[in-house]
Amino acid sequence: MTAASSATATGARPVGGNARRSRAVRLTVRGIVLLYLALLLLLPVAMVFIRAFEGGIGPVVQAIGRPAFQAAFWLTVQITVITVPICTVMGVVTALAIARRRFPGRAVLNALVDLPFALSPIVIGLSLFLVYGTNSPIGGFLADHGITVIFAVPGMILATIFVCLPFVIREVVPVLREIGTDQEEAAYTLGAGPVRTFWRVTLPAIRWGIVYGVILTTARSLGEFGAVAIVSGKISGKTITLTTHVQERYEAFDIVGAYTASIVLAGMALLVLVGMQLYQSGRLHRGSSDDAPSSLMLEPVSTAGSRTGGGI
């Protein structure tokens, strides 16, 4: 597998033709691309930091100190801390089932894994609301036993798991397929049972796939907005995540508050990017003997190939 995110390919080789002309072309294309990226990507992001600190550091620090911000921040962290392990463990279980087992309905399972990418987060929120809201059979049943899901944190966790579900699975399945069953069979013949084989042979072989899946899951979990907004009911102090807080501050005309929360989120996003970059360069050092995924481009789990990346 290639290291897409660490493109170290050689420079352009003019294939026939006039070298000077091709140099001009190359510089022009480079210029167009850099301009595009600057206008679309770099400037907007820089803008947020500039706007946040427009009035100096004071207002930003003040905004961070507010109880609403703190509550939103810790809620986001809490949801992430619960979501990521669940998605990781169940993701590995599911990946093993898909890649190593034959059973009726495997194709359906495949398709379900890709489904979150094809769904708008609003639709995801709605579907959870319909199942776990107090008006529905399941929701009503749970409410009678004192468990609130919708408009409470459990619902927000469910929504986050829904949107984060595919990442670990789609990173691990290709690795499992590529390494094949030989090593596991070797372990069996040497006397290792299925559990021991998993711990000592399979898990080490897929660990980088899991790591990358966890990075993606964490990023998505921290940044989830639409689905969580629907199921949370935006109850202030209780069910407002940091992303919802941004919107809420904006609508309250608290621009500094909105931008402050934004730069905190942007900072976390940049940390994720750094994590991804470290993972990539770590991969290069580990060399090609390691079976690890390399790029954001997650291979489809289902053979129907619905390769998507749903909105936050």
């Binding site: 030989d182 013949t189 040497l190």
Partner: protein, 319 residues
């Protein structure tokens, strides 16, 4: 530990891999399962190992019916074509794996691993990772790993298939010598008849989910049971309805009784032997193998008209 399989059937979807296969592998011998791709030889080996379960039939190791016994408990060693190294473990840890999970004392493991690494001559690579080894070294590591737990039966699935020709030959004779020392019942799968002839005590020729013939290399070569075995094990050329070994096709310069006329199309010098490709008057092509000195004394050249006569031929009745 002798191996016995009875009435094994195995299908993968619509593909029949093994069709009512029965076989006895004698204790302490080196047996080859020889056949083309798809003949069922690997499947049979994996069923013996417990890595596949047959649809019907039984597998016995010694007196024990192991048909339903998982691979962990069969006391076998298995070597894979692509080595199946534990990539994240050092060579030493790879070889120690079977002993480690049996919770042997550390000193014992160290001692045994050292012994084995010396036996397969990769002791100096003990602390390296499999990726840093050559193909031949990896396969030797795989062998050491399989032998570490003292299996009663050693199974090898095309063990030299992924190696280049020279290394293949070296490891081949090395395997034979190893077997002569340890006398572990060994079964290996190959599609290379030369390899089977070189190494094995007994060869099991398989084709199309069935066993065609079982015998020593010499038996198979001199007394093949059918056309398939004759053409698969050893060189063969067809003269009318007979099957003839090229070195049994005599070339004569004068017309002789029972000899047919042919023109030499090509003379190929293969070092010690000469291959002569001939076109007979009825339009069929045959080829003969003659020793160098004979080719020289007959002054065989392209375009020459000669007379060919099989000195020994086999005719097989229609199947």
């Amino acid at each position: 530990m002798a191996i016995r399989v009875e009435g094994i059937n195995k299908r993968f979807g619509t593909f029949t891999a093994l069709n009512d296969v029965s076989l006895n592998v004698p204790d302490g011998q080196l047996t080859a399962l020889l056949g083309p791709s798809g003949s069922g030889k690997s499947t049979l080996l994996r069923i013996i190992a417990g890595l596949e379960t047959p649809d019907s039939g039984s597998v016995f190791l010694g007196d024990r019916d192991v048909t339903r016994v998982p691979p962990q408990q069969r006391g076998i060693g298995f070597v894979f074509q692509h080595y199946a190294p534990f990539k994240h473990m050092t060579v030493r840890d790879n070889v120690a794996f079977g002993l480690t999970i049996r919770k042997r004392p550390k000193a014992e493991i160290e001692h045994r691993v050292k012994e084995l690494l010396q036996l397969v001559q990769i002791e100096q690579f003990g602390d390296r990772y499999p990726a840093q080894l050559s193909g031949g070294q990896r396969q030797r590591m795989a062998l050491a790993r399989a032998l570490a737990v003292e299996p009663e039966v050693l199974l090898l699935d095309e063990p030299f298939g992924a190696l280049d020709a020279r290394v293949r030959k070296e490891l081949r004779s090395w395997l034979r010598r190893l077997h002569d020392e340890t006398h572990v019942t060994t079964v290996f799968v190959t599609h290379d008849q030369e390899e089977a002839m070189d190494v094995a005590d007994t060869i099991v020729v398989m084709d199309n989910a069935r066993i065609e013939q079982v015998g020593s290399p010499r038996d198979l070569y001199e007394h093949p049971a059918n056309e398939f075995v004759m053409s698969f094990v050893g060189p063969v050329t067809r003269v009318d309805e007979s099957w003839v070994r090229p070195h049994d096709l005599d070339i004569l310069t004068e017309p002789t009784e029972n000899a047919t006329e042919a023109m030499i199309e090509r003379v190929v010098y293969l070092g010690f032997e000469v291959r002569v490709e001939l076109l007979r008057t009825d339009g069929s092509h045959v080829w003969a193998q003659v020793p160098r000195d004979q080719a020289e004394s007959l002054e065989l050249t392209r375009g020459q008209i000669v007379y060919v006569r099989p000195s020994k031929a086999r005719v097989f009745s229609a199947a």
